[in-house]
Amino acid sequence: MNFSSSLHQIYFYLAISFIISFVINFSRTDRIPIIAVPLKKIEDIGQINEKMSNAIIREISIDIAKDLFDKNMLFVDARSEEYYIKGHIPKALCNDNLDSLITEMDIHIAIDDGFVVYCSDDDCGSSEELAYSLQEQGFSNIYLFKGGWKQWVDNNLPIESK
């Protein structure tokens, strides 16, 4: 290989990156699959577990979210407090500081109790980010409501503002 050619240098950088990254990923305990696996979706309220010992994050629809709201399950708002103050799902918790949020959650639920995390809409991503952060902190039974605040409001479900 002639390394004075830019193209060959590019090939080399790409090849070494692919090889090293895959080897390292394969050898680490927190490896991720090469192709992402979608979150498991809950289709029926019967699949909801009150308690869960194995850590898992599952996606729920607006209908399931409404059922869980009616059953007084805890909701956690992953949006920033600025948006939360303007309007949120009634009794939902929100705190920009993760440690403070966990302290608040500990008052309401045990570590293996189910709770719902949501953010603004399907595109926001912060609910998933918060769900994984909470999972790392030991919470095991997490439901992700991807439709979020937008879908909740669009369905004329109850809201409150602070």
């Binding site: 390394f3 004075s4 830019s6 193209l7 060959h8 240098q9 590019i10 080399f12 950088y13 790409l14 070494i16 990156s17 692919f18 090293i20 990254s21 895959f22 390292i24 990923n25 927190d30 991720i32 699959p33 090469i34 192709i35 992402a36 696996v37 979608p38 603004s120 595109d123 926001c124 991503g125 912060s126 998933e128 980010e129 994984y132």
Partner: protein
């Protein structure tokens, strides 16, 4: 090109390399989080974000190291520039679609996508361009360059 100080070229190379090197660390440590950041842009077919989250940080690490050490700088600059253009396209489409998402750039925790990030990348692209048109290869150790030839 002569108006550019030779050593300014080396400084730009080291700064650009350091930025890429620094940006790679968090992504290498937590590829799952980086994969979620990529997924939030909603531009890739589902699943591919993991492949990118595995490979891209290491590519950044190698080209960052290459630029700092002066190893295969020409190839490194082309990849650097391509990545910066790609990052800007990703950020621009996210802004246009109204996504209020974390950049996932690896430089600043919690930094959101925005015009300032695009501007930052354009500044880095300018640095990459200066490196690309350099006529003297100062302190580049591989491919070996004979300074007396310059």
């Amino acid at each position: 090109m002569n108006r550019f100080n030779q050593y300014l070229i080396v400084v730009i190379r080291i700064v650009l390399g350091s930025i890429f090197l620094w940006a790679s660390f968090d992504k290498i440590i937590d590829p799952a989080k980086f994969a979620r950041s990529i997924a939030n842009y909603h531009v890739l077919p589902f699943g591919i974000e993991n492949t990118i989250a595995i490979v891209l940080p290491w590519l950044e690490l190698f080209i960052g190291s290459g630029l700092i050490l002066g190893i295969m700088v020409d190839g490194g600059i082309v990849i650097t520039s391509s990545l910066l253009v790609m990052f800007n396209l990703m950020i621009a489409q996210a802004i246009l679609r109204g996504f209020n998402i974390e950049c996932g750039c690896g430089l600043k925790e919690g930094q959101l996508v925005g015009i300032e990030k695009i501007f930052e990348n354009f500044v880095l692209l300018g640095g990459a361009y200066i490196l690309y048109i350099r006529d003297k290869k100062i302190l580049e150790i591989f491919p070996k360059t004979n300074l007396s030839d310059n």
